[in-house]
Amino acid sequence: MPSPNKIPREKLLAFLSALGLFFAVIEYLLPKPVPFMRLGISNLPLVLMIDVLSFRELAILAGVKVLGQGLINGTLASYVFLFSTVGTFSSLVTMVGVHRLFRHRLSLIGVSLWGALASNLAQLLLSVFILLGQGAWMIGPLILTLGGVTGFLIGWFAQMFQARSVWFQRVRHALQAN
């Protein structure tokens, strides 16, 4: 069994950021019902680590994921980056907030659902005021419902991974021992 204080936090953050990018690439390739919509799959590392990392560390994770996505996909100077930034950070702040406040009453699925709602609502607002105009309100139900479904799935995956992953248990154990 490895010593609990051997996992360097900065390297772990870099790895988790890379994981977010990895999922972001998968998300970029998946077909979407509305072309500019972000499904939120790249937020899986955030959901996974929400009760392990501090808010500052989660914010770094989110920032690097968003910046990295823009650099790797080449969309840094476009509306895609704006949507990604606003979606990711509104999701993060909401998830951390509800998790800290209602930790014992909400499962990871509930936390993820809150994050999805915040993210998709923020992106809907951007769609209305920047991309599509007032008519974009009409696709609100589509964006929010689909976002809710992926939010549920992401929360569920994170829940299963936390329960069954030996790697995750070691990381959590090591970080809590520090």
Partner: protein, 211 residues
């Protein structure tokens, strides 16, 4: 199996020069207020994205353009060109939608051409980014080991290989960076000036035609 696309711009431009090159058409797209020069800029940025070896999904961008134009038509403005009964399609709304779509898509193409992952970020962020990239490359290389049936166990295996929890060995940086030119040469600056010049010409030419 897709063939690897060649980044022709990498032979002439450092990542920093690419970033500078991108700013020309990007700024032009921000200020353009007429559809004809906007389409010219869109074509320019599309060519640059192709030269950068980027795969441009025409279906996605067509769908995006149709969405933007479609929603713009829901707010009638200007001459009525087609009365559908429940909706009147107007020239002004159509032009506004087309201009917005052209502008946004042109910005994406400019960004695709101008942003390179080897762009050096300053200081501690730059070192952190290099580490992130190396982990990212490792994950990409091992992605085929992940199976749907045993997804937790297979992910565990991949994570443990890329980020061991029983060792503190750092990963080696990706070798890919060595093939990118980081030294801005005079030829690269010439290309930057040319692209800026073309953007300006399109802007002026398009603007004078509309008067």
């Amino acid at each position: 199996m897709h063939s690897k696309r060649i980044d022709h711009l990498a032979a002439w431009l450092s990542p920093l020069q690419r970033l500078m090159m991108m700013l020309g058409p990007l700024l032009a797209l921000v200020v353009v207020d007429n559809l004809v020069p906007a389409l010219g800029l869109l074509f320019l940025t599309w060519v640059l994205a192709q030269m950068a070896g980027k795969r441009v999904n025409l279906f996605y961008f067509t769908l995006l353009a149709l969405s933007i134009v479609g929603f713009a038509l829901l707010n009638p403005m200007g001459r009525v060109i087609w009365d559908l009964g429940w909706l009147r399609l107007t020239q002004g709304a159509l032009e506004e939608g087309l201009l917005k779509a052209t502008r946004l898509i042109g910005m994406v193409f400019a960004s695709l051409a101008g942003i390179h992952r080897a762009l050096r970020l300053p200081g501690r962020l730059g070192r952190f980014w290099a580490l992130v990239l190396s982990y990212y490359e490792s994950l990409l290389n091992l992605r085929k080991r992940v199976t749907v049936k045993h997804w937790v166990e297979s992910l565990d295996e991949v994570f443990e290989e890329v980020f061991p929890t029983n060792s503190s060995n750092p990963n080696e940086p990706s070798k890919e960076e060595a093939s990118i030119t980081h030294h801005p040469g005079w030829a690269g600056w010439l290309v930057v000036l040319m692209v800026w010049g073309m953007s300006l010409v399109i802007l002026i030419w398009g603007g004078s035609l509309s008067r």
